[in-house]
């Protein structure tokens, strides 16, 4: 059964929500810093919008949503063949 637990732990670690969440958080922080430091040339190129800053903040929010989602609803992968044990079958 330890194999089963191992599998679950690994599946959780590699939950796509964690990976997207982590990557977006990282990208978001980089862009936010870049956006704050952006010179006038960058702002002018983007039609006067501090686009790096805004995109950065949005990416932090999206990343956080993925991480919170993963926290609140962790992936449990029920094996259909064992579904009887899960006692939650509908007719």
């Amino acid at each position: 059964m330890s194999g089963e637990i191992d599998r679950k732990r690994v599946a959780r670690l590699f939950d796509i929500r964690r990976i997207i969440g982590g990557l977006f958080l990282l990208y978001g922080m980089i862009l936010t810093v870049v956006g704050i430091l952006d010179g006038q040339a960058s702002v002018d190129k983007a039609e006067g919008v501090r686009i790096n800053l805004w995109t950065g903040i949005a990416m932090i929010v999206v990343g956080a949503v993925f991480l919170v989602w993963e926290r609140l609803r962790p992936l449990d992968a029920p094996d259909p063949s064992h579904a009887e044990e899960a006692e939650e079958r509908t007719e």
Partner: protein
């Protein structure tokens, strides 16, 4: 033509700096890291992502959507937006969503419950080995051709980044994809597929917002489109489709509804292995059925970040699509270069590169799976040890990439890659859909009817396209030609299937259980989980909701 392409690539040179390369590097470190770590942590062939039919609908739905929304689709749809205007939304609202819903409600139970490993495998069970072989061969050819499109698009972006000539970019890109498939394997390919979708959106949304600001918002965009080459018809989806000559697409509404909305799109969405496979990894029948339906909702919204940038590019770059000017395919990269400062630019470039690589990796793995199992093991050498097929699969991967270089040069000959893609779909998917739909609902349809229907349908689609290219048949535009080619292929396939059925012997009912409508297989247990009966998990309620929403979205753009 190559000279023209080289010029275009130089025009397009993006102003990337070290920051953008850091963003790009972070992405590939993540993807390869996952691949390597996963390989260490999981020793069996059990894939942790599409593992043994264990995933809830939202993950498979996301994977389903990402499998379709590669960069080819995004660049191609922006190209169509610039070339044909608002009419491009047909590809989403009538040309995708109804078919996705149909796949979920009607067809997925057959695929999922018969436990087949691929679409050709389903054909083998419903019809015979010959039908499986025919479909496997056309599928393999289609995958190699589509891999070429992805490779060409990848090379275009690489060329834009580094200023390399096209051929060098193609060969280097192919080498990278090969290394990537070998290193990361299937697991990191699938992660990449889902991740690229979010990263590419993170790049597209800023382009769309900044583009709209630059042209003066929606009203400014509408005004400028009216003054452009496209004119007022470019702002309407249905107006002017009463006759083929009075709308930019050059299509009659019957062609749009039947050719695109029915045959082409149902053919693509319901029989495309790469798509159907995502549903097969779901945890139960309900989750499998919900997979394409969950994907339909975001699909409805995608035109906002493809068609709008296409129109913006049309009004900002007035030589777009003209001889000597940049091609329509370059609409998005041009906007990236024009609007995005370093940082966000890196995100957009990463999204594009990742997406082409994921797309090509998916084509190549689809190719080698079908080649190894449905062609070689089923029809050439049957009883070899497992590692024989494993080695063969690796060789097929290398072979697929090399062939992809050849087909990339074919793709380079088309100024709008989406048109080329649609032409391919009309050859391969439209007849396949006819065979499927008749085979599912008419249990008398015989094994050989499956084979001959599919063969003649494919040949007819091909012939109609060749005749159009030679100028014998006049369909107006390339796109309209594919609509009609697909429609004809569908009808011919259906007629041949019916005629052949009437003169051959049907399969006994015992062999058709679980494969045709009305003959369920009683030995398959009900696999519903708690909560599956809730109305918000009902495939029919959610599916109908998506179709209705699609119809409502048309209202402002009639």
């Amino acid at each position: 033509m190559p000279h023209h392409l080289t010029l275009a690539a130089q025009d397009l040179k993006l102003d990337v700096n070290v920051l953008d390369y850091v963003v790009l590097a972070l992405y590939f470190v993540t993807v390869l890291g996952i691949g390597l770590a996963a390989r260490r942590a999981i020793r069996t062939s059990l894939d942790f992502f599409l593992s043994g039919r264990s995933l809830p609908a939202w993950i498979t739905g996301l994977a389903f959507l990402s499998a379709n929304l590669g960069a080819t689709e995004i660049l191609g749809m922006a190209a169509n937006g610039a070339q044909y205007g608002i009419e491009t939304v047909h590809y989403y609202w009538i040309g995708a969503v109804p078919a996705m819903v149909f796949l979920g409600i009607v067809m997925m139970p057959f695929y999922y419950r018969s436990k087949v490993h691929s679409v050709p495998d389903f054909l083998r069970r419903r019809f015979n080995g010959q039908t499986q072989l025919l479909n496997a061969v056309t599928f393999a050819v289609a995958q190699v051709l589509i891999a070429g499109i992805n490779l060409y698009a990848l090379a275009l972006v690489m060329g834009a980044l580094l200023g390399w000539p096209l051929l060098l970019s193609i060969v280097v890109s192919a080498a990278i994809v090969l290394a990537y498939v070998v290193l990361g394997g299937l697991s990191s390919a699938i992660y990449n597929e889902v991740m690229q979708f979010f990263v590419i959106l993170a790049g597209l949304i800023p382009i769309t917002v900044l583009g709209l600001i630059k042209v003066g918002g929606f009203s400014g965009l509408a005004d400028k489109v009216r003054q452009s080459a496209l004119g007022d018809p470019g702002l309407h989806a249905w107006a002017g489709t009463g006759s083929a000559g009075t709308n930019p697409l050059g299509a009659h509404w019957i062609g749009i509804v039947l050719g695109l909305g029915f045959v082409l799109s149902f053919g693509y969405w319901t029989t495309n292995f790469a798509e159907v496979q995502r549903g097969l990894s779901a945890r139960n029948t309900t989750a499998a059925r919900l997979t394409p339906i969950v994907a339909a909702y975001p699909k409805l919204m995608i035109p906002a970040v493809t068609v709008i940038p296409g129109l913006v590019a049309l009004v900002l770059f007035n030589n777009l699509g003209k001889p000597g000017g940049p091609q329509y395919n370059e609409a998005i990269p041009l906007l990236m270069g024009d609007l995005l400062p370093n940082g966000v630019l890196g995100i957009a470039v990463t999204g594009l590169l990742a997406s082409f690589m994921a797309g090509m990796a998916a084509n190549i793995s689809g190719f080698n799976t079908v080649f190894t199992y449905d062609i070689w093991r089923s029809h050439v050498k049957k009883d070899k040890p497992d590692d024989y097929y494993l080695r063969l699969g690796r060789l097929a991967t290398v072979g697929g990439v090399v062939l992809g270089i050849g087909t990339a040069l074919i793709a380079a000959g088309f100024s709008n890659i989406m048109n080329y893609l649609q032409a391919l779909f009309s050859f391969f998917n439209a007849p396949l859909f006819a065979t499927f739909i008749i085979g599912l609902f008419w249990r008398r349809m015989t094994a050989w009817a499956g084979f001959w229907g599919l063969l003649t349908g494919t040949l007819v689609a091909f012939a109609s396209y060749i005749l159009f290219k030679m100028g014998v048949l006049d369909f107006g535009t390339e796109l309209n030609a594919t609509f009609w080619g697909a429609g004809t292929a569908f009808v011919v396939d259906a007629i041949v299937s019916i005629v052949v059925t009437l003169v051959t012997t049907p399969k006994p009912e015992s062999e058709l259980r679980g494969l045709v409508y009305g003959l369920s297989d009683a030995s398959i247990a009900d696999d519903a989980l708690k909560g599956d009966t809730a109305w918000y998990r009902s495939p029919i309620v959610l599916g109908a909701g998506a179709v209705i929403l699609g119809a409502l979205l048309y209202i402002p753009f009639v």
